[in-house]
Symmetry: C2
Subunit: 723 residues, 2 copies
């Protein structure tokens, strides 16, 4: 592993910048040569055209990426990205997760839920001057935060003047640059095809992050718009959206070494964090968060075992917690093996030494670095409280009550003055969340989770606690007994009607006075908590203002330092559009073994135990046993390729991104990374980082042979086999 | 996996018989061509000479194999084979397991224990006629058993007339052939060198059966004999044994694809069991035995955590239970993946169909097969009782008392009439076991284990129980309450002096009348149990007689059937000397990945966590970090090879066997197989079966650089590096 890091260092110093990097579209000129060298057959410049082919076909689902694959609005993404919508449509009797879903005709397609969205990026503009221009020279940190927030809200409001758009400002390099994204927001999303869990989630949490892998992690949505072609909420009158661009299925083979590329919306990386932050992650953040995830998993799994309905309701939360727990454990493992903390400390010491060498030029940057580092360290004092209070106040029913109450407060203001997240543009999302709670929340589990957080809250030092919450719970210094807390929670859950969706939606419409007069126990608690949560928000805003003052200087110094070493710098992932490229290839993740670049259906038979998550369907087992692979088999594998590995640079949020070949054609979906490289979010190691993709030939085979969807195949330009 | 089995079938049908097969020395002419073709550079005929080079250097330790590697009696075997003797010499203060052991001079070498033996095979003779010739034509099954037993005892007694020999009769093919092994028995075995656990047991139980692997599983013994050159018990006057042959360290490289060969004493395989027996293994034997192992592990681990002394005492038992549990789980997994039961059933159906085709010729064989199958099935009725009673009666202190009592009974007879295992030749072994109990038994744990078995016994159906044991426990129909049993065990453990080694050794000398008069509670229980155990023994002997009557006919039919398909048949492993050969090579054990043929020190750094069993020593980590590999590094690996894979056919008992290259030189020690192929004991799959070997270059590097032993290196003909 130390060797690997050495390699990483060497590679980064080479002029080639292949593999590592989540590049923004505007950085394409910087990587054009590398793209060509790595194998791109398109003119790299075509990738800069967000409304052209192929970039115009890439869309965001919010948290996941997807792409248009037909002129009739067919969208493909990961099964796990559609998991929530499949869950919303599943009951124990009609279980879309278990049985999969094939819409024979358009009329059979079902809504992915009122909150489901598809965002089609139209353009990205540099708004750095507008965001930073309005900050008074002598602004306090709080004023700085508010000025930046106000400028962003103004930009977004202007951009969204035409209501078909959804806009968002992204900060790159910690505030060095700001970019405004304008996206068409499609609000009627329907499910067209999903394989059964036993294919789409084969291996489940057990195989999550694992190679060898054989997961058919794909699902088809369809985008719908009003008869006028404009985005509209779900309606029977709506018609399929006609995208300007869609990705054609590749006609050529895809082999080891071939160029692949992914465009998508990666969520968050920590490549430029301070060394002290990786220390914190290793010593506190991840170990404690893993313990919390495991506690929550235990609560929901125990309840789910006793009640199939509860199991369905928490399936999506459980998947998230399991994923998070495993991811963090993998990061800790990766940090240890790669000595990531040591690397970070050395890198930071190198920066400091470089700045010190620069004399007067470096002095201001050094002073800024020291202040920035002190600011970051100052978070430690309240990190436990912030985590617990945020989790408690955001949890399930209480979270709904708090959002309802806050919305009532904000609704009284002008829209431009409203808190981001509570502006008019955000209301449908809040409403959808309140509605969907009925499919994702069980009162018994909700109460157990709230109790869990309450016990953690009560264990905080007295000076970290919130007087309003202490007063509600009757806490005076010591933690309450389990019985006292149970009685409080009994009363809380007995005295509310918010467990009913209608009641939540009614409260959603009410003003603050009406809510204040309510005798609903959750709303009363929300009102009591409101001043406390506001205080914490004020603290956070002042902190963010200080961050906005110091972080850009730090990042600029780091960029300059890296430039002095001929190292290009891309911004940390922040859910904005990025491009990454590389090649299909295996890896030796550990001494004494290698991962091959392709997995095959043979692995499904090997792993099949008949028990979830290794319970392949009989239809699939039969097709494999009878070798009904048809044209989807690859000669060198003597089998259908199921998943493949590539050396791209992605993170959560890239899920569902189409994988494109050298011609920009569809060759699959990215859906995971290997366990050995999850630490790459912090420290990228090109020697062992590998992404996992569903092979499009497997998708087509499934739809041709195992769970046939001839109509979808035809729409993809593929003639189904004769039957 | 189904593909793999298909491949297995195809390979077996080819004239080449490489890879699969644990061949007896007398079968060497059958495999001479294959040996040459696979790469052997020696004349295959030289391997037939058991007293020549290299076979003369191979020795048995009983349960493990070893080899002479110097003219001065230096013997090398696995660390795990020497584990018991290292444990005997370890205390919490002076922990040879943890710290390793380097004898600077011969005088520093310590005894491996009074029971340690090295057996040097002198010759093997065919005694089939002698064993089977004395059975009366109309013998009952019991008489048949006794006649065979008597003939074997007679052969052994004659063979051991010169007391330097130890002799044993082995039955091949279930009684088709009998072979007498004559071995020089060396009784003074000392420890010369052992690496610390962190090298010799790196990865521990967690890595057991696992590839990639980085275990330095080697230890050096030295054989000592009396000043006259003849075997003698431990004495300060003894001198190193001068073997006629020893294995030279290889001078050439060993690379992927190179020929390797292992000669050793594999313990037991089940390649020719009936299909009903693999069914039983899947449905009953392994699942229930795994549960038992896990219970025993839990008892000993819990006690060991509370007391370091107890942990040392049960370390060896724990290693065995863990190994057994993991092995059986692996077999069940392998059976499932390979559809081993289906294969067996098809094979057996094939045999039956072939016999049916043969008309009159096959009729007798068919009738014999049916009777044999019925006999095998008849065991099911009492299998649970036999397991529980054998475990209970053999457990710890009670086992000692039962052996003492039985010995007193047998001692009254002529030696030739004594039960095998209780003849004069067996007494030293019994005595050594009674003595060693003090290092391997803790009264508290012993009692818990006995209680565990008692509870299992009490749960047997009433008609399966033993009246003597019921009477002792006050059992009348129902199981006793936990309190009743506890009181019985309190009294049992309070009323014995056998917890003291002196008392056990004194009782070992006493006759039956003296023991019958003893007021020792354990001896009284042994006397009470004696008639019951005798009844079970009578049952077993009658069964064995039936087996001797029917099994040879079944095996002969199977051999004939296989011969008709051009398939050679080697006997199941039975702890007698075998030769297996193949090549260094990796494997794709599962879809989407491969195991490389070599592991390296890089893997040690990767796996090192600082916590047992992944707690590499600082001395080793430093040597790796500083790349002090010297001449032991291999250029293509840029590292020292630690372990390697080959496609040999081995099982437990082969542990410690030297691995020889094409010239018959020492290139390491076999010590494990991969998890994916443990089921090969029942159904050999050449496509995935791989053995794991310690690379001799790693052993030499450890002794040259990490835990230096310059004197041993010189003795191996290797000049230590300058210091």
């Amino acid at each position: 592993m130390r060797l690997s890091l050495l390699c990483a260092g060497l590679l980064a110093a080479l002029p080639a910048i292949a593999v590592e990097g989540m590049w923004t579209p505007e950085q394409l000129p910087q990587i054009a040569d590398a793209l060509k060298r790595t194998g791109l057959q398109l003119d790299p410049a075509t990738l800069s055209d967000l409304r052209g082919q192929p970039m115009g076909a890439i869309v965001s689902l919010g948290g996941c990426t997807a792409s248009f694959v037909s002129p009739n609005g067919l969208v493909v993404t990961n099964h796990h990205c559609a998991y929530g919508s499949l869950q919303l449509n599943s009951t124990p009797e009609n279980n879309m997760l278990r049985d999969g879903f094939i819409a024979e005709t358009l009329a059979d397609e079902v809504s992915a839920g009122p909150g489901a969205r598809i965002w089609v990026t139209q353009d990205i503009s540099d708004v750095t001057a507008q965001v930073l221009g309005g900050i008074p020279a002598d602004a306090s940190d709080r004023a700085r935060n508010d000025a930046i927030e106000a400028a962003q809200k103004k930009l977004v409001a202007e951009c969204e003047a035409d209501e078909i758009y959804r806009c968002r400002v992204f900060s790159h390099f910690g505030g060095v640059q700001y970019r405004l994204f304008r996206q068409v927001e499609i609000r009627d999303v329907r499910i067209a095809y999903a394989p059964p869990d036993a294919i789409g989630r084969f291996g489940g949490d057990e195989d999550n992050w694992i190679w060898p892998r054989q997961t058919g992690d794909f699902t088809f949505y369809r985008a719908y718009v009003g008869p006028d072609g404009k985005p509209a909420p779900y309606s029977e009158d709506n018609v399929p959206y006609r995208p300007k661009h869609f990705l054609p299925m590749a006609k050529d083979a895809l082999n080891e070494g071939d160029f692949v590329m992914v465009a998508g919306y990666p969520g968050r990386t920590q490549r430029y964090q301070l060394a002290s932050q990786i220390d914190d992650a290793i010593e506190w953040t991840y170990p404690t968060q893993i313990a919390i995830f495991n506690d929550l998993i235990n609560i929901a799994e125990t309840a789910g075992k006793a009640d199939a309905d509860v199991a369905i309701k928490y399936a999506s939360s459980l998947a998230g917690w399991n994923n998070g727990s495993k991811n963090m454990a993998g990061m800790l493992d990766g940090f240890r093996r790669a000595d990531a903390a040591g690397t970070k400390h050395r890198e930071e010491a190198g920066l400091v030494a470089w700045l010190e060498q620069r004399g007067g030029e470096g002095r201001a940057a050094l002073a800024n670095y020291r202040e920035y580092a002190a600011l970051i360290e100052s978070q430690r004092a309240t990190r436990e409280r912030n985590r617990v209070v945020n989790a408690l106040a955001g949890s399930g029913l209480l979270g709904s009550a708090n959002r309802i109450y806050r919305l009532a407060q904000e609704r009284a203001l002008d829209d431009a003055a409203r808190e981001p997240g509570y502006q008019q543009r955000d209301w449908p999302g809040i409403e959808a969340g309140l509605r969907q709670l009925e499919r994702r929340m069980d009162v018994g589990v909700d109460r157990q989770i709230l109790e869990y957080w309450f016990e953690k809250y009560a264990a905080l030092p007295a000076d970290q606690r919130l007087q309003e919450l202490d007063a509600w719970a009757g806490l005076k210094g010591d933690a309450p007994s389990r019985e006292t807390l149970a009685a409080k929670l009994d009363a809380l859950y007995a005295g509310t009607s918010l467990t009913a969706t209608d009641a939540r939606l009614a409260a959603f419409e009410q003003d603050q006075a009406t809510l204040d007069a309510s005798d609903d126990s959750f709303l009363q608690l929300a009102a009591a908590l409101s001043p406390a949560l506001k205080r914490l928000e004020d603290e956070r805003k002042a902190f963010n203002g200080a961050l906005a003052r110091l972080q850009p200087g730090y990042m600029q110094a780091l960029i300059d330092y890296r430039t002095s070493q001929d190292r290009a710098t891309y911004p940390d992932a922040n859910s904005s559009l990025r491009i990454t490229f590389g090649n299909v290839q295996g890896v030796s993740p550990r001494d004494g073994m290698t991962y091959l670049p392709f997995s095959t259906t043979r692995g499904i038979v090997e792993k099949h135990t008949g028990t979830d998550p290794f319970d392949a369907t009989q239809a699939q087992l039969d097709a494999i046993a009878q070798r009904r692979f048809g044209r989807w088999a690859v000669e060198s594998l003597n089998d259908v390729p199921v998943n493949y590995l590539a050396d791209l640079d992605v993170t959560g949020g890239n899920s569902g991104s189409p994988t494109l070949n050298a011609k920009g054609e569809f060759v699959g979906l990215i859906f995971d990374g290997i366990w050995e490289s999850v630490a790459s979010n912090w420290v990228f190691d090109p020697a062992i980082t590998r992404t996992i993709h569903v092979d499009w030939r497997y998708m087509l085979w499934i739809m041709d042979e195992v769970y046939p969807a001839p109509a979808i195949l035809r729409e993809l330009g593929v003639e189904p086999r004769a039957r």
